[in-house]
């Protein structure tokens, strides 16, 4: 049995500390120790993207990251997108455009789209589809997801800086 | 998932010397990278293990080896091996006929084998099985040839057939099958084959 290591990092703006074995995956730490069940598990080969979170301004599949690698990191999950009771433009857009059905891919999808719009505030449809290719969905066929990202992009662009 | 292989390897000694080495199953096993004979049930049946490492992950196959047939006149050996990986997720079996033939430069070790995989190894390893088997045999042949050369240089030490005592094998050049080194060797071979040079 490996000796648990202490790992501290920031989760949705708040500092957290956990004691984990070196082999523990971030997705399990988030979901089971830290009770953030937004990111989901859909596979074990890092294809589906349901576990997508945002670490130090990058989209990361948390099933492929060891918690010990996150020492000092800034981690953002779907739970951190709503600020002071206000939904992020993406969250609203997903509802308005019917971009979700069962909801299982949604946290990862929105978290990924969040990073996309941070990097590229005016993506074309092709760019959106390319960027979101790491997040699988079985219910929507992606068409409304693309519309939701476009709608959120417009809304964010129209906001005063 | 079956792989069939036929390979011929040049050996630096006369056919008789190589044939004597071939019948020492434990010595042969020691030349197979990652393999070990753990128990000698009788002169035809052995238990053994083969370990494969890829980075931090290890597959440890545990199984039985049977010397099905030994044809002294033809200098040929028929081996059957069968095992399961210790996590219980993969199975493997091998049917091998190895023979020694004289050549102008000494002799040739000719191997013909069929390897079948089950479980995770087949699902994930299937696509690289041919190349992996190729590389494993090449390493084996190199180890075996080195042993043969050492024995040929000191003929009084050649072991008698069937009576391999349970002494530790002479140090083989590579003790375990390192998956990353394997991968690099596979890539090198593939690149070479793209440019027309057939890998031996």
């Amino acid at each position: 049995m490996a000796i648990p290591q202490n790992v501290t990092f920031t989760l949705n703006g708040k500092p957290v500390q956990v004691a984990v074995e070196p082999r523990e995956l971030l997705i399990h730490t988030l979901r089971e120790r830290l009770r953030h069940t937004g990111p989901h598990i859909g596979c074990e080969t890092s294809h589906c993207g349901a576990c997508t979170v945002d670490i130090d301004a990058m989209s990361v599949k948390s099933c492929t990251v060891l918690t010990v690698q996150c020492q000092g990191a800034n981690v953002l999950t779907i739970e951190g997108l709503e600020r002071d009771g206000h939904l992020h433009a993406l969250q609203e857009a997903f509802t308005q455009e019917h971009a979700l059905q069962c909801g299982y891919c949604t946290p990862g999808m929105i978290t990924r789209a969040y990073r996309l719009l941070q990097e590229n505030p005016h993506p074309t449809e092709q760019e959106i589809r390319y960027w979101m290719a790491g997040n699988l969905c079985r219910c929507t066929g992606y068409q409304n997801i693309v519309k939701a990202v476009q709608s959120a992009a417009e809304k964010l662009a129209a906001q005063p800086a | 998932m079956k792989v069939q292989l036929e390979r011929t390897f040049a050996m630096p000694a006369a056919a008789d010397v190589v044939w004597r080495m071939l019948q020492d199953v434990e010595a042969v096993a020691s030349c197979m990278p990652g393999a070990k004979i753990t128990e000698r049930v009788d002169e035809r049946h052995f238990k053994g293990t083969v370990s494969v490492r890829v980075g931090p992950a290890t597959m440890a196959f545990r199984g039985d080896i049977e010397v099905k047939d030994l044809d002294v006149a033809a200098r040929s050996l028929h081996l059957l091996g069968k095992g399961t990986d210790s996590t219980g997720t993969s199975g493997a079996s091998m049917d091998l006929v190895a023979s020694v033939q004289s050549s102008d430069t000494g002799s040739n070790l000719v191997g013909k084998s069929e390897v079948a995989m089950s479980g995770k190894a087949a699902a994930f390893g299937g696509r690289v099985m041919n190349s992996v088997a190729d590389q494993v045999l090449k390493q084996f042949a190199a180890n075996f040839a080195a042993r043969v050369a050492a024995v040929a240089a000191a003929p009084t030490e050649s072991p008698a057939p069937h009576q391999a005592p349970n002494r530790p094998a002479a140090a083989a050049p590579s003790g375990s099958l390192n998956g990353l080194a394997l991968l690099w060797a596979i890539i090198k071979d593939w690149l070479r084959s793209l440019f027309g040079k057939k890998a031996t």
Binding site: E21, R31, E32, R35, H36, T37, G38, H40, I41, G42, C43, E44, T45, C48, A50, E79, E82, L87, Q91, F94, T95, Q96, H98, L100, Q101, C102, G103, Y104, C105, I110, I128, R129, Y130, A133, N135, L136, R138, C139, T140, G141, Y142, Q143, N144, I145, V146 | M1, K2, T84, T87, G88, T89, S90, G91, M117, S118, G119, K120, A122, A123, G126
Partner: protein, 802 residues
């Protein structure tokens, strides 16, 4: 003077009831990551279970050694078949009338079959424990080709039923034979074939695929020793059926079993069956006295849970020279895997395959399905298939194209010549189904006009002259959904009715509970819309609950697009019962006769005296007071158990245009136009979402999915490394359209819709690909149409040479 119509419309809009594309009520939690899926559940003292599975497809188990596993830190118990025998749970009944091993008893019959269950403190310890269980196998010869299953020397898979003369569906002729089922008039059909001027025959494969919902199957089983109460949180599309089966299996009274399905991350038919994992988790909970969580991995999901299709078919049509079909003869060899876990009604072991006459008026028909065991995982009915309807419609839609090519008639025209005409409805097919309503000509014409079909054919001719490959695929399908009338439709004897229980509160809001179970279809929104329009109360104030068997009235769950046809009907009728009572109360309050009242969106008015009004909201409060007719009970509550008189038959016309690169085989979907008719449309936005999703799954099946096995029974495509799930890059752009032909027998005229795009989409893609090569004599190409396989066709025809 305000326009009363405008005011009425404003009041109607405020209800957000039937027909409006209101946003979904369930979204609020999902966009915040606050859904409650089974793996989100954590209970005090909960332990984890991991399955030990066989790497071999067919083997005897010589020994199982738990000793090492039990020493792994954190491991609490290891269960094997012998541990389940004392409680009679080593074997369980399937929903197909067979039995299935919960944990392998002396032999394994498919790769990854469950052998042992390790219970530990957390998932890592459980995985360590599973690796340490030592199982000794003796391999047996493997049977993977269903065509060899009935050979004299075929390996016998099911020794446990070796001397059973039947397995739930009639006599069997070989140890690997499950059943033979047939429908129609064989003699009449054979005679029609003998006398027909044109006959066509084609072997058509529906390859084995898997629904692969994004969330895998799992449960948390919690047995409370003091009360004897068993609670199982699980991914169950049919929670009540699971409760009944669990009671029959375990001997625990059904009143002490509670099945709770919370949010489910996609079902698609994968989450109807009872899997061994659920049963061992329940046993482990009973044994340890604490909750046990079992969540399968993706590989386990793809390898062992309900797969779809694997029907090897032969299609034959007999016709006149102008393409009028005289007779249809379809046969199929079904590879059902090692156990028959095929969800099916007792009378329909091959599902609703006999819908294979499709949208056409065919006088004589005969179909037959032979089912066999092989060394593969059990299942067969799943993946948005409406119970084998995907197989049936694939066959007829491919065959009509084969016929069209054979006699040189245009593929749209041949369909027009054979369609059931609008005036023929209700129309009873030669195989016994009564199609409730339809207008196939109008649907097809609308699509052909929208895409300029003539123009596309002209373009195709020009492209062919230049040696380019372009294909046009048409699919005019009729679906059969809404199982179903209890006289014909049952599962393990339980009729496939469904239910809705409504309670109206004094302040005018409502809670309604149903026996169906959403896995993303938006029931919390659509059922609320139905009730809103019936009762005149805003859908925003109508709570819908499903999935908790302690609270919800009995139902058969959600699969086969049955929710709207059966659950929706129950909701409408339950609401109407309440409205009738409300009318009586209104009459009492307004001091008039019931016949003097008129219903106006959300209120009763007195005929000829519109200022005399009682709104539904006022009546809700009044019903809880003493001011109600003498002898009447308080409250506005009702429950309806609905036994549908028939299934419903949604239909559609799809058209697909593909461009194929003759050098690489790469197939681009240039355009896909989908027109669906599901009768009355409850929420157009939700319908469109279902169409997008079903078409994307159809695209996946037609263009890239397969579950291949090698000769040793090794599962070669059981992870997302190999199994094709379209991403946002591959998914085509969908254009949707509709017509409305209500169902005459349904209370609101609605039919199901969510499976139509899958059933109708798959042949549309395949027809397009085959059509691209039609001018070169190709009549059929087997799925999946991956670039490599299409390239192989190009190569065979020499098209990739310059």
């Amino acid at each position: 003077m305000p326009d009363t119509n405008v005011i009425a419309r404003e009041r109607e809009d405020k209800l957000q009831g039937m027909g409006c594309s209101r946003k979904r009520k369930e979204d609020a939690r999902f966009i915040r990551g606050r859904g409650s899926y089974v793996d989100d559940i954590q209970l005090p003292g909960m332990l984890f279970g991991a399955m030990v599975r066989s790497p071999y497809a067919h083997a005897r188990i010589k020994s199982i050694n738990k000793a090492k596993a039990l020493t792994v830190p954190g491991v609490v118990a290891v269960l094997v078949a012998d541990d389940l025998k004392p409680v009679n749970l080593a074997w369980m009944p399937t929903l197909g009338g067979d039995v299935q091993a919960v944990l392998a008893d002396k032999k394994v019959c498919f790769q990854y079959q469950e052998v042992a269950f390790v219970v530990a403190s957390d998932r890592y310890a459980a995985a360590d424990g599973a690796e340490a269980v030592e199982v000794e196998y003796e391999e047996l010869p493997v049977l993977v080709d269903p065509r060899r299953a009935m050979d004299r020397d075929a390996p016998i898979i099911r020794e446990d039923i070796a001397d059973k003369k039947e397995v739930g569906h009639g006599p069997r002729t070989h140890p690997n034979h499950i059943f033979t089922w047939e429908a129609g008039d064989k003699a009449g059909t054979d005679a029609a074939f003998a006398g027909a001027p044109v006959t066509v025959r084609q072997e058509i494969l529906n390859p084995r695929v898997h629904p692969c919902p994004l969330e895998t199957c799992g449960c948390v089983a919690s047995f409370d020793k003091p009360t004897g109460q068993l609670t199982v949180y699980m991914t169950a599309q049919a929670p009540h059926l699971v409760r009944t089966v669990s009671s029959l299996l375990s001997g625990i009274a059904e009143s002490k079993i509670r099945i709770v399905s919370g949010d489910i991350g996609g079902g698609f038919g994968n989450k109807v069956a009872v899997y061994p994992g659920y049963v061992v988790a329940i046993v482990a909970s009973i044994v340890t006295g604490v909750p046990i969580k079992w969540i399968e991995s993706r590989i386990e999901n793809l390898s062992t849970t309900a797969f779809a299709r694997d029907y090897h078919c032969v299609g034959e049509l007999a016709a006149d020279r102008d393409g009028r079909i005289r007779a249809l003869r379809f046969t199929a060899l079904g590879d059902y895997g090692a156990f028959n876990a095929h969800v099916s009604a007792t009378k329909f072991p091959a599902g609703l395959f006999s819908i294979c006459t499709g949208s056409y008026d065919i006088p004589k028909a005969y179909c037959k399905v032979d089912a066999v065991y092989t060394n593969k995982a059990p299942g067969g009915v799943a993946y948005r298939c409406s119970l084998r309807v995907t197989e049936a419609i694939y066959l007829i839609e491919r065959m009509i194209d084969v016929l069209a090519q054979n006699i040189g008639v245009d593929k749209a025209e041949i369909r027009r010549r054979n369609f059931v005409k609008a005036e023929q409805f209700p129309y009873t097919t030669a195989l016994g189904w009564t199609l409730d309503s339809g207008n196939y000509h109008a649907a097809l014409d609308k699509v052909l006009k929208a895409v300029d079909y003539e123009g596309l054919r002209r373009e195709q001719a020009q492209k062919r002259a230049r040696g380019e490959l372009m294909g046009i695929g048409i699919s005019t399908f009729t679906e059969i959904v809404g199982a179903g009338p209890t006289k014909a439709c049952d599962i393990l004897g339980i009729g496939l009715f469904d239910s809705c229980e409504i309670r109206v509160h004094p302040t005018g809001s409502v809670i309604a509970r149903l026996g169906t179970m959403s896995q993303g279809q938006g029931h919390a929104t659509t059922y609320a819309q139905i009730i809103a329009t019936e009762l005149g109360l805003p859908s925003e104030d109508i709570q819908i609950e499903e999935g908790d068997t302690d609270k919800a009235p009995y139902g058969a769950g959600t699969w086969g697009s049955r929710s709207t046809p059966v659950g929706g009907a129950a909701a409408a009728r339950a609401a109407r019962k309440i409205k009738e009572k409300a009318r009586k109360i209104a009459a009492h309050l307004l001091e008039v006769g019931e016949g003097d009242l008129e219903w106006d969106v959300d209120r009763f008015t007195v005929k000829g005296n519109p200022s005399e009004v009682k709104t539904m909201k006022e009546i809700c409060m009044a019903s809880h007071t003493g001011n109600i007719p003498a002898g009447m009970e308080q409250g506005l509550n009702s429950v309806e158990y609905y036994d549908p008189p028939n299934l419903t038959f949604p239909f559609g016309a799809y058209l697909c245009v593909v461009d194929i690169d003759r050098f690489t085989g790469e197939t681009k979907i240039r355009r896909f136009y989908a027109l669906d008719d599901c009768g009355t449309r409850i929420n157009p936005m939700i319908i469109e979402g279902q169409i997008h999703g079903g078409l994307t799954e159809a695209f996946a099946v037609a263009m890239g999915q397969a579950i291949p096995f090698d000769e040793n029974g090794n599962h070669l495509g059981n992870s997302l490394l190999d199994y094709f799930l379209p991403t946002s890059v591959e998914a085509p752009h969908w254009e949707t359209d509709f017509t409305v032909t209500p169902s005459p027998h349904h209370p609101i005229g609605a039919k199901g819709v969510a499976e139509s795009p899958h059933v109708g989409g798959i042949p549309c893609f395949s027809n397009a690909v085959a059509d691209a090569f039609a001018h070169l004599g190709v009549t059929h190409m087997e799925m999946p149409h991956t670039s490599y396989r299409v390239w192989q066709q190009c190569n065979a025809l020499g098209l990739n040479k310059r």
